[in-house]
Symmetry: C2
Subunit: 167 residues, 2 copies
Amino acid sequence: MNTASADEPRWLSDEEQRTWRAFMHATTLLEDHLDRQLQRDAGMPHIYYGLLVQLVEAPRRRLRMTELAMRAKITRSRLSHAIARLEKNGWVRREDCPSDKRGQFAVLTDEGYAVLERVAPGHVAAVRQALFDRLTPEQQKALGEAMQLIAEGLQPEGAGADLPWLR
Amino acid sequence: MNTASADEPRWLSDEEQRTWRAFMHATTLLEDHLDRQLQRDAGMPHIYYGLLVQLVEAPRRRLRMTELAMRAKITRSRLSHAIARLEKNGWVRREDCPSDKRGQFAVLTDEGYAVLERVAPGHVAAVRQALFDRLTPEQQKALGEAMQLIAEGLQPEGAGADLPWLR
DNA sequence: TCAGAAAGCTTGATACTTCAAGCAAAGCGA
DNA sequence: TCGCTTTGCTTGAAGTATCAAGCTTTCTGA
């Protein structure tokens, strides 16, 4: 009827295996490294730091919860918990959305801004040391392009296609 | 005395920013994707699956805890908890090391092997679809090389340099 | 051969993530 | 304007991660 290869999954070649393992090793080691660095210097994990960064870059240092979740690539649930924690630290505050009573803004506080200011240099240094300092500009470019393609393929369908707040 | 740039951290350029964000987005989306896929099909997170894979590739389907932790790039503590969980599932069993009474082997059981057999095709397919199917061979090669370099830089000093069990 | 240091692994507490379920407000068709 | 669906966000429980502390066994050097 058909050849064996029809049911047999296409296993990874040796070369693909190496690529895939290098990928996993690099990403787990790097995430761990940054998590530790930020936990030590800022008392929060890498992803929480990323939330503060998103906020500081947003107009009026605030973002709707859903929008923030999308930008940070995490679920709303996870974001709710995370913001609750950051709120306890006094680094973020919630504000009601005037035009939609269901809505909430996450707002970066002055304390939050101060933490960012204090911690950002060390974080950038860590990223440089782990990533950019080890790659030639060509390698950086290639890496960025590959990652861009991978991210696009995994993006939830039409993510951010029509957020009302973005007009 | 010195120029401003001496204290001012070297922030990321726009291009570097893009690379770095693509990196983070791709890695978080991919990890989430694989975690969900495996949680759904195998009832375990991606990293636990990786432990089983390490075991199935090892001679006699067993590995010392420390060795396994190193290969999987996780701490011993994390591994202890993980193996405890996998043991509950009946997929792994612990065995005392005869030559070192402190030592433990993690051993893949037949049930564990069966799970792997059942689940591996879907997992490979997911990895292909998310990563390899989207990249040209050149891009794959470049990605692998970059990741290799990054991983090397983050590897704990002389990791695995002298494990007695490896002679 | 013996004391102290190191290795191998585990434990428990606390923090974080995930999932499913839930509530309230907004949108929408009849 | 009424009922139903969708959207926005939160909650609680269960699973997993991390850190520091701990136990036992082995190694080391005097």
